[in-house]
C-alpha cells in the first residue's frame, strides 16, 4: 500500500489524467497525489478520480494544486471508471437493471382497442412490481399517449420513474399528436437516444 506522487506541473489536458490513471493502476498503490498547475487539469483529474470511485482532497500551495486521491473501500476498477454509468442509460434516474421496453402503441395486441387498453394497464400494474424494474421505457407513435396527461397508466408510470426507470418519449411523435405540452412523466427524446438504448447492453422487449 504505497503512496505515489505524480508531478504534472507544466502538462496540459489530458496528460495529467492519463498519468494519474496509470499511477492508480500500478499494483500496491493505494494513494496518489497528483500535482497540477492549471485549473482545467485540476478539474479534469478530480472528475476522473471521483467518477472512478476514489475520494479526492485538494490543497493549494505555491501556485499549484495538490490532489490526493485515495481508494475508497470497494472502489471500482480504475481502468473502467466511465463504465459505471454507460452513456446509454444517462437518462436513467437510478439503478434500474431490468430490460428495456420499446412501446410503439397505447393498446396491447391486435383486436379490440378497448381490450388492448385493459391489457396495457394490466401490463403496467405488473411491471411496477418487477424486480429489478425495467431499465427504460421508450414510447413511440401512439405509445406516447401513455406518458402524457390522461394516461390510463399514469400511477404505475410515475412509480416506475421514481424507482429509477428511464422514461423517454419520442419528440417527433409528441409533436405529431400535439402532445408536447402534455408530457407528464420522463423526458422528450429522439431517435438517436432511443436507438442507443436498443443497441445498448439491455434485453429489449417490444410492445407493438
Amino acid at each position: 500500500m504505497s503512496h505515489k506522487i505524480v508531478d504534472c506541473r507544466g502538462l496540459n489536458c489530458p496528460q495529467p489524467v492519463i498519468n494519474t490513471k496509470k499511477a492508480l493502476e500500478e499494483t500496491g498503490v493505494h494513494t496518489v497525489t497528483t500535482i497540477v498547475d492549471n485549473e482545467v487539469s485540476r478539474q479534469n483529474v478530480s472528475m476522473f478520480a471521483r467518477n472512478a470511485g476514489y475520494s479526492v482532497s485538494e490543497e493549494q500551495k505555491e501556485g499549484a494544486y495538490y490532489l490526493t486521491i485515495t481508494r475508497r473501500d470497494g472502489a471500482g476498477d480504475p481502468q473502467t471508471p466511465g463504465k459505471e454509468q454507460p452513456s446509454v442509460p444517462r437518462a436513467a434516474a437510478g439503478p434500474a437493471g431490468g430490460p428495456v421496453y420499446f412501446i410503439t402503441t397505447n393498446s396491447l395486441g391486435q383486436g379490440s382497442p378497448d381490450l388492448g387498453q385493459v391489457l396495457m394497464k394490466s401490463l403496467f400494474v405488473t411491471l411496477a412490481t418487477m424486480n429489478p424494474p425495467p431499465a427504460a421505457l421508450l414510447f413511440l407513435n401512439t405509445g406516447v399517449f401513455l406518458s402524457c396527461n390522461g394516461s390510463p397508466v399514469m400511477e404505475q408510470l410515475e412509480q416506475l420513474h421514481a424507482g429509477g426507470t428511464a422514461v423517454l418519449s419520442c419528440g417527433t411523435c409528441l409533436e405529431y399528436y400535439k402532445l408536447k405540452d402534455k408530457l407528464a412523466v420522463g423526458s422528450i427524446s429522439n431517435m438517436f437516444d432511443i436507438n442507443n438504448w436498443l443497441y445498448g447492453p439491455h434485453k429489449v422487449i417490444t410492445i407493438a
Partner: protein, 326 residues
Amino acid sequence: MGPHTLSQVLRHLPVPNNPRLLVGLETSDDAAVYRLNNEQALIVTVDFFTPVVDDPYLFGQIAAANALSDIYAMGGKPLLALNIVCFPDCLPPAVLGEILRGGADKVMEGGCILAGGHTVRDDEPKYGLAVAGLAPPADIVTNATARPGDLLVLTKPLGTGIINTAVKVELASEDAGREAGRCMSALNKEASAAMLRHGAGACTDITGFGLLGHAAEMAAASKVSLQIEFSAVPLLPETMEMARMGLIPAGAYDNKNHLEGKISFASRLKPEEQLVLCDPQTSGGLLISIPEAGAGALLNDLVQKGIPAAVIGKVLPPGEKLINVI
C-alpha cells in the same frame, strides 16, 4: 481563440456602416452577408485550423466541411472556395497532397468550385478555406431571428472535442473515433436545404464555442431566451464516459467560463454534463430555430436523409438568463 479573448480584441475594430452589409460583426454570426442586388446576396466566410485527426485525407474533408458549413448555416449555396494552407518543410509533401485531396472532394460534394489558394511555411500544419456563397437576400437565415414559440433542432450529435481528446490518448474505442470522424466530415448541405424548405426562423452552426456558446449568441442576437433539455441533446458514442474520465478539452472550460451568469443549469446536472454542452465542436451541426408548425416535418425530412437530428429545446421570451438548461 477563446470567446473571451476574441471579444476583447474585436471590441476595438471599427463597426462598418453600409446598408448593403446585411450581416456583419455585431451579431457574432457565422459569415458576412452583402446584398449585391435585390435577387442576390454574397455570403463570405473563412475558417482554418490545426489537424484534429491523424488521417490527412479525413482532416482535409473535415476542414472543408467546416468551412462550407458557415455558408449553409446562413441558408446559402457555396459558389467558390480558396484553400488556405500552412505546412512545415519537415513533413512529406504527400501528406499535404492528401489533405488537399480530402478538401477538394468535400468542396465538390458541396457543388462548389475550388479555384485556388495560398500556402505559408509554418511549423505546424493548418488547413481550411475561404468560401463565397450566394443566396437570395430573402432566404438568408441569420442567428438574430429566433422567435418565442420556435423549437430548436440540432442536426449533429455533440462530443467531437471530447472524443478527439480521448482518441489521442487511445481511451476512446476505434468505433467511437470513426463515428466522430464521419460526423465531422459530413456536410451540412442537406440540413440547410431542409431548413429552407420548412421555413426555419434562425440558424447557426455549432463549432468552437460549443452548443451553449453558439446558442447564447443566437439568444442574444435574437433578444430571446432559450430552453435546452440536456437529455434530448444527441451525443456521439462514448462522449459521456470520456467526459466522466476527465478527458474534457480546455476549450470546454473556457466556453463555460465565458458564459458565466448567462446560463442557468438545473441543479441535478453534473459538472461533466454541463461541460459536454460547452464542448468545442469541429464541423458541428446546425442549430435551427423553427416555428412549431414546421418542426415535425423538418425532423422527418432530416431523419429520412439519415441525419440524426433532434428537437433539443425551445425559444422563450427574453428572461433573466440567455439559456436555461433543464
